[in-house]
Amino acid sequence: MEGQNPFLTAQAQFDKSADLLDLPQDIREILRWPMREFHFRIPLRMGDGSIKVLQGFRVQHNDARGPSKGGIRFHPNETIDTVRALAMWMTWKCAVADIPLGGGKGGVIVNPASLTTAEKEQLCRGWVSQMWHNIGPRMDVPAPDVGTTGQMMAWMMDEFSKLQGQYVPGVFTGKPVDMGGSLGRTEATGFGVIFTVREALKHLGLDPAACSAAIQGFGNVAQYAAIGFHDMLGGKVVCVSCYDLKDKKPYTYSHPDGVDPHFLQGITDQYGTIDQEKATAAGYVIEDAGAWIEKDVDVLIPAALENMVNAETAPLIHKNVKVIAEGANGPTTLEGDQLIKERGIFLIPDFLCNAGGVTTSYFEGVQNDMNYYWSRDEVLQRLDTKMTVAFHGVLDMALRQKVYMRDAAYLVAVDRVVRAMQLRGWV
């Protein structure tokens, strides 16, 4: 994927779905491009008094199903085509999760590490002052993404509310819980992964309690996926993996009796590195980074980085693996995908599998709107319902159209957006 224009890739992916759905040309023309794009300059007064002018974007790919939804990225290598691609991807993700939101994405070309806290706040407020006419709970609801945080969302929300002259918490999601955020958001993505895994096992007629999983990664998603698999499904987590900041290399941590995710969470630092000594002391075996993929398990959950299931690693997948749940975004390359398809392993594609995050963002907006906040359990309960329904929507499509799950997810998503456009009379 390196060097390839991500927007062209996204369009190609869409074209493939459009071909499968045999969409007419006029409808494709609407969906192949964002409906609206904003390019703007943000003058930023730096700590030393100088002015730095930064380039900002907001892309609203499609809002047929509801207000645009998608993160704001502060990244030095940001390009408009990355933002376009991710905005389109959000359209499909919201649609597949069946939440009433469209797709958007925004960004600023900046390395946040180069800014002081005050400068970051200024940048956030600057972004809002450029965009405030075109965002809002009924128009476009941004959220944190690469390089942005909950704190930043709170600043942005504050700026927007000031400009509006009223408190509007629902304009941004991913806010801190104390400032209009939703409970359960931390666990949402990882648990969402597990809800889909549970449904997949049910579909395959497997007893989750008798199943084992190998998880790659031990960040936010992987941690709660491991906890969920262990606590909620009663299955055995054979291993997790993490990047060791000290050694500057990743390892796989396994335990002969299965790992205890709560214990591991307790010995993991804020950067996601597991304490090797404590782990070894507790009987954990530290293996090569790639060991996770070769484990004799029923379920593989790549929940770390992109492109980890590829031409080299995919052939190593154990013959007993029945389900691959893509907790991470884009963990599988085209070649890896081909091998999974050939081997008939049941795949839960990323934008379905990890849609728990965006679903909880949606819940946050809902709670902001009604100004009433659910308990953590209530949020997770609703998340379970949403994820389960979304999973079966995709499964139905796969069975009905006899297509691979990843294709089915795209078909469901595109079809829902098309249907909304039809009902609204756009096409």
């Binding site: 499968l20 079809d415 098309v418 039809q422």
Partner: protein, 764 residues
């Protein structure tokens, strides 16, 4: 004259003589045969049989197995040579050599005057067909400058040619002669089996195509005609003679007898057999057609008459044509015999009697066409087929323009659109507003749509009627043009494969009507043909998608009304007291005769009923009367919108409450200055159309609309006699027995498309 050695046998003399005229030889022998036939030496048929027998023998002699017929050109050449030889033989042994020499002399004379090519020296009405054809071709090939000199000759020859081979109905001739060329006649003859006329229906398609080529070339270029063959009328008579069926002289028998004998006639036709020469030619056609399905259609001489319609009266039969060559020939022959039998159909006889056409010598020609469609899996059918009228025969809203035309069409074979079928509905389209329909709710649209498809099952070699969801799959090429899906109470076009769900399909054809060039195309076709026919026309058409849309023109004829009725003129000299009511808005074309009962719901009384439940009770009583009067011919006449759910607007009946009525008449009574809009039966419009029930509306005080209140008020009410328990409603519901009011009279309603009049008339 060439010298021939003395004492040569006569046959050799003739042979050697003819050898001297290599170009004239064919014509000489043709005239020799004419002499043979004329002088009764041998009949044309007997000669032809002998030719075939001898040809078959010669085939064996030349080392070919007799059962294997040679390819078309070789076999034709063989026949021709044997025919020539037999001609010489019969002539030599039966007729004087002088006569032979006279033939040659006369021919040489004619040729010398032929140099004066502008004139002919024969009476076209008596001249042989070939001669006329050749002459017409000569005229047509003349330089344009000279054409006007021979135009009158050409026209006369064309008239004779058309009369001889197509149809002699004057209305048809007057149009056909303007368009047909000698080439067309040659084509018709080349596709004709046997002799005799082929009928106007067979030629209607060719005629329409000629007109389109000339007047709408861009449409003609995109129009496809089915490969067609014709069986001349003489074959019908020959069949009757061959099978000794002439004794079925049905037409002057009483109708009951005609009805009683019909099954026997059909059976006799099914048992009978076609002449071997005809079978031989049919076999040739089947070889040429290959495995394409065929349709055998009647093309009777009466069917060409302007103003009468035999639409759907004679039979058509499909031949799927998927069996062995022997099976296919057997099926084709049976289908032809069945169409022949339909000439004796009691309904046809009745219609001819009514239309005073009984004395005409009705002969049945046959049109044999390749079925237009495409294979989809094991099935074969067109994406759409149906019938289009240049004048809309029915309307349900004043916005609609009659003169823009009208369609009845279905997915699959057009049989379901041409004929009325119970409980299933073709798509009706008024071309002025293709997307307007009488139904407004999703539920009604779905209900009044097509649910069954007629098609040819290629695997079973049979015609079938199957549910839509069993036939149409997501991969059906024309899916999105003809079908939409219902989802959550809305019907939307299919734009993505994921939307396909067989059980939710609704065949609306809206996408085709809205987004393709179909509507403009068919409007052009209809308006062009109507203006050139100088008469409203109806056409049968089909559409396939390959993947471009292809328009197939199957037939064109002067327009028949929907019920196949001919409408007499509205009488202008009626005494006022004979008139019952008159209507002038959106009046269809039709005739309802012998009406004995009028079920009249009095608008004033109805409006004065104290509450809705009393009005519901009226609806219930109407429903019961509908059942009680089942065997009678009656109409319903009442206030406002029949079938409205709101009892204040009209009697809240459903179709099940009124289906025996012949007409549903709405009286629009101005209320507090507001004139309620009549419904024209839109609550169940398709049901009315399919059942042939006429919706009419009387706008009191407008356009000459009236109702004879006095007569209705004076007439006796039979309600209580029919239904004693309805007594309390006798003021509101009146059942008038027309013959009791005027002895020997019934009521009839004449509707001419502009106006309609109901009046009492002496019973016939």
């Amino acid at each position: 004259m060439v010298q021939v050695p003395f004492e040569t046998p006569k046959i050799l003399t003739i042979h050697l003589q003819i050898a001297n005229y290599p170009v004239m030889a064919d014509e000489i022998r043709r005239r020799m045969r004419e002499e043979l036939f004329r002088r009764g030496v041998i009949t044309a048929q007997a000669l032809e049989e002998e030719v075939r027998a001898k040809a078959a023998l010669s085939q064996v002699r030349e080392g070919l197995p007799s059962e294997l017929r040679e390819a078309e050109p070789a076999w034709e050449l063989r026949l021709e040579r044997v025919r020539d030889y037999l001609t010489d033989f019969y002539f030599a042994y039966n007729l004087p050599i002088d006569l032979f020499e006279q033939i040659i002399d006369r021919l040489l004379d004619e040729r010398s005057v032929e140099k004066d090519a502008f004139d002919y020296h024969f009476n076209p009405e008596l001249a042989p067909f070939d001669l006329l054809l050749k002459q017409a071709e000569q005229y047509a090939a003349m330089p344009l400058d000279n054409q006007h000199i021979v135009q009158h000759h050409l026209e006369e020859i064309m008239v004779v040619l058309i009369k001889t081979i197509v149809s002699d109905h004057l209305g048809f001739l007057s149009i056909a002669k303007q368009w047909f060329t000698a080439e067309d006649m040659r084509f018709v003859r080349s596709r004709r089996i046997g002799t005799g006329k082929v009928g106007g229906k067979a030629a209607g398609m060719l005629l329409a195509w000629r007109i389109l080529q000339e007047c709408a070339p861009e449409v003609a270029a995109r129009t496809v005609l089915p490969e067609s063959y014709f069986i001349g009328t003489d074959v019908f008579y020959e069949f009757l003679a061959l099978n000794r069926l002439e004794y079925f002289d049905q037409k002057y028998k009483p109708l009951d007898q005609i009805r009683a004998e019909y099954p026997r006639i059909v059976a006799a036709h099914e048992r009978g057999h076609l002449h071997p020469a005809v079978l031989n030619q049919l076999q040739g056609i089947l070889e040429r057609v290959g495995q394409k399905p065929l349709i055998v259609r009647s093309s009777s001489l009466l069917e060409d008459n302007f103003g009468t319609s035999f639409a759907g009266k004679y039979e058509s039969h499909f031949c799927p044509n998927q069996g062995s060559p022997e099976e296919n020939l057997r099926d084709l022959s049976l289908a032809i015999r069945r169409v022949y039998a339909s000439a004796f159909n009691p309904d046809v006889m009745l219609y001819r009697r009514q239309m005073k056409l009984l004395d005409y010598d009705e002969r049945m020609a046959i049109l044999l066409q390749e079925v237009q469609g495409q294979a989809y899996g094991r099935y074969y059918f067109p994406a759409l087929a149906g019938v289009a009228f240049s004048q809309a025969p029915i309307l349900w809203h004043p916005r609609l323009r009659r003169e823009d035309g009208f369609l009845r069409m279905v997915v699959g074979l057009g049989t379901r659109a041409v004929n009325r079928v119970a409980d299933d509905y073709p798509r009706m389209v008024v071309l002025s507003h293709p997307l307007l329909r009488p139904e407004t709710t999703t539920e009604a649209i779905r209900r009044y749509s097509q649910h069954l498809i007629d098609l040819i099952d290629l695997e079973d070699n049979a015609m079938r009627t199957l549910p839509v969801d069993r036939v149409i799959g997501a991969d059906y090429p024309a899916l999105r043009l003809v079908a939409e899906v219902e989802e959550d109470g809305t019907i939307t076009p299919i734009v993505s494969r994921a939307q396909f769900a067989p059980e939710r399909l609704v065949l609306t054809a809206d996408t085709l009507l809205q987004k393709s060039d179909f509507v403009p195309t068919i409007k052009t076709v209809l308006s062009t043909l109507e203006s050139q026919y100088a008469f409203p026309v109806d056409i049968e058409f089909a559409i396939t998608r390959t993947p471009e849309l292809v328009f197939h023109l199957l037939q064109c004829r002067p327009q028949s009304s929907m019920g196949g009725m001919s409408v007499p003129p509205i009488p202008s000299d009626l005494p006022e007291e004979d008139k019952v009511f008159g209507v002038s808005k959106m009046v269809p074309q039709g005739l309802i005769e012998n009406i004995t009962h009028i079920l009249y719901v009095d608008p004033l009384q109805y409006s004065q009923l104290e509450n809705a439940s009393r009005r519901q009770e009226v609806a219930r009583l109407v429903s019961q009367l509908n059942a009680v009067l089942e065997t009678e011919r009656f109409i319903m006449l009442g206030p406002g919108r029949w079938g409205s759910v709101n009892p204040d607007l009209g009697v809240p009946v459903s179709y099940a409450d009124i289906y025996n009525t012949r007409a549903l008449v709405e009286i629009s009574v101005p209320q507090r200055g507001i004139i309620p809009e009549p419904s024209y039966g839109t609550h169940f419009f398709q049901d009315l159309v399919e059942a042939g029930i006429y919706p009419l509306a009387i706008y009191l005080g407008e356009g000459g609309d009236f109702i004879n209140q006095e007569w209705l008020a004076r007439a006796g009410n039979q309600l209580v006699d029919l239904m004693p328990e309805a007594g309390p409603y006798a003021d509101c519901i009146r059942v008038i027995h027309v013959p009791s009011e005027r002895a020997g009279h019934t009521m009839q309603i004449v509707m001419d498309g502009e106006r309609g009049l109901a009046y009492t008339v002496r019973e016939r």
